[in-house]
């Protein structure tokens, strides 16, 4: 789906013209950039074969691969509970959810590959620690309510971030996001429903919900990234329409949607979160950005566990991949000899 060219004839002609111009006159990069920006301003999608500035390519490769890595690493905190899911139905739901995350990882890697970096290279960057993934997955899942909370808050925050990305200027990423968002919305509802079920149970279960919220709420707000005042990528990404809303805008949107949901679950809302009658929004205190940056740098509770687990899966599976490759080569030789 990612390489499907969905452009109209006029759009294709314009892109071709831009390409020809470059071939005839390599000095006209400034002109190409102008055409490129004009297309973005006209809300056109940029497709893999279109000319694009290096910075655009680089930024998107970083963002999409980081997103893919997050999907893959995100399988660990959930996988942590798959063998302990409390009912057959919950077990099926959790397996299907983890499967969806693997699927998201797969098609995000594919979307990123359209920009010219191979999946193997991107995975190497993750394993070497060069590439980052979402900070939230460095936190442990300690009780079953954490699994519901991951669906409700973590996928909820992800959706808030990603719905605008369905209109991002890069076609393959935007299209991948449409499907990812559909599935994530499903996960969010399932997560919330799992918590509703627990809320109807015992005090011990309600305590688990409160505990999960207390631990995960703040880190889920950090998923939107640093405050607008110190985000490095904001302005250029906004001009390129990779990002349509600022971190703080999206964070506020998420808080406003989440607090009433938390109240409905019977959760005690942390001090400092108050409804502001004037603005119509929920005010909340400054986040602990020292914690955020420490986690980004690898000091999260589970940071090294996640990377060790990922490397172990890659190492343990090496012989399987080698055998499969060798077999495919043998088959190819056989059919060319025949």
């Amino acid at each position: 789906m990612y390489t499907t060219d969905l452009r109209t004839a006029e759009e294709k002609a314009a892109a071709e013209k831009a390409g020809l111009k470059l071939a005839e006159n390599p000095e006209s990069i400034a002109e190409l950039e102008e055409i490129f920006q004009a297309r973005i301003d006209a809300d056109e999608y940029i497709e893999p074969k279109d000319w694009m500035p290096d910075g655009y390519r680089k930024t998107l490769t970083r963002q999409i691969s980081q997103h893919a890595h997050s999907e893959i690493i995100g399988m660990f905190p959930e996988g942590n509970w798959v063998t302990r899911a409390p009912t057959l139905m919950r077990k099926l739901i959790l397996i299907a959810k983890i499967q969806d995350e693997a699927g998201h990882g797969l098609y995000l890697y594919s979307a990123a590959e359209t920009l010219g970096t191979s999946r193997a290279e991107m995975v190497d960057q993750l394993l070497s620690g060069k590439a980052k993934f979402s900070t939230i997955f460095n936190y442990p899942t300690m009780n079953w309510a954490d699994i519901g909370t991951v669906g409700w808050l973590v996928d909820g925050a992800a959706i808030t971030n990603q719905i605008p990305l369905c209109r991002c200027s890069y076609g393959p990423y935007a299209r991948a996001m449409v499907r990812v968002c559909k599935e994530e919305s499903f996960h969010q509802r399932q997560g919330y429903e799992a918590l509703l079920a627990m809320a109807k149970g015992t005090d011990a279960q309600r305590k688990m919900i409160q505990d999960a919220f207390d631990r995960m709420f703040w880190p889920s707000l950090m998923m939107f990234g640093p405050p607008d005042s110190d985000s490095m990528h904001l302005s250029q990404n906004t001009i390129w329409k990779i990002k349509r809303f600022s971190n703080d805008e999206l964070r506020q949107r998420f808080v406003d949607a989440t607090i009433p949901q938390a109240q409905h679950l019977g959760i005690t809302i942390p001090e400092g979160i108050v409804f502001n009658e004037e603005t119509g929004h929920w005010d909340f205190p400054d986040l602990d950005w020292d914690e955020f940056w420490a986690v980004v740098k690898g000091d999260g509770v589970c940071s090294s566990n996640r990377m060790d687990a990922r490397r172990k899966a890659v190492d343990d599976g090496a012989w399987v991949r080698e055998a499969a490759t060798a077999y495919a080569e043998k088959q190819a030789q056989k059919s060319s000899a025949a």
Binding site: V82, Q99, A194, D316, V320
Partner: protein
């Protein structure tokens, strides 16, 4: 004396056996999640787990209905102890590596394929319907396992060694697959169940075909398990699996008001 042998309700025992096989093998597949050799195989592992646990859900629901004691499928899955499980020893063995996992899947999916194929003719309509649905799934499982057996064993020396190792470890659980209890025999005579021993010839033929293609062989002396699932006997592995799987239901009993 076999105090955990229960022949008072042979249909219940039979259906629970089918359900437990699917549940325990599905659980083993779920252990692969996030640890697969690559993303595509991780997704395949979750498909297999979903299919099998889905089958377990249907079968245990039906078993609960047959029993008529007010228990649910979840009660059967989460609140029985080891000795009341009726899964085959083959299903409960640990995954070890991808080679052992694939060898086991070839052995058991071939068995399930034959068993469900025959069960489609059951005079018990519900059982026949579940079998028809499950057969579609295990047809794919068998193909997947057969392809990977050949791919690994014919790919590299290490692949060959690891798959052969899987068959070496697991072959001693083969005789149990065809052990036919008295209750099962009676049900089979009535056209309800499939006598396990009736599947052996076809199973050996199919296995031989795939294993020959892969260049692996059954170990010459593999022995057999001197214990029976019908008496509630299991390997030590099942107890640990259940400790993990049943933890929440045991720690927060529904009798005390817990809901999941």
């Amino acid at each position: 004396m076999n105090i955990y042998r229960d022949e008072s309700n042979p249909l219940f025992q039979y259906v629970v056996g089918l359900g437990d096989d699917a549940l325990i093998l599905g659980h083993r597949w779920s252990e692969w999640l996030s640890k697969g050799p690559n993303l595509e195989l991780d997704i395949a592992a979750s498909n297999l787990a979903l299919d099998l646990i889905g089958q377990a859900n249907l079968l245990l629901e039906y078993a609960a209905e047959v029993e008529g004691a007010g228990r649910s499928a979840d009660d059967l899955a989460y609140l029985r102890d080891t000795q009341d499980f009726r899964c085959h020893w083959l299903c409960e063995q640990p995954n070890e590596d991808w080679g052992v996992t694939i060898a086991r899947m070839l052995m058991f999916s071939t068995y399930q394929y034959l068993r469900y194929s025959a069960l489609m003719q059951s005079t018990d309509r519900q059982l026949a319907e579940i079998a028809a649905k499950a057969l579609k799934e295990v047809t794919y499982h068998r193909r997947f396992a057969a392809e990977w057996t050949v791919r690994l064993a014919q790919g590299t020396d290490e692949g060959h060694r690891r798959v052969q190792n899987g068959f070496n470890i697991l072959w001693r659980f083969v005789p149990e697959l065809f052990e036919t209890s008295g209750g099962e025999r009676t049900l089979a005579n009535d056209g309800i169940a499939v006598a396990s021993d009736s599947l052996e010839a076809d199973w050996r033929e199919t296995m031989d075909e795939v294993m020959t293609k892969a260049g692996v062989s059954a170990p010459e002396t593999s022995g057999r398990v001197m214990a029976s699932r019908h008496n509630g006997h299991h390997s030590e592995h099942l107890g640990h699996l259940l400790c993990e799987m049943q933890f929440l239901q045991r720690a927060y009993p529904k009798a005390s008001g817990a809901t999941w």
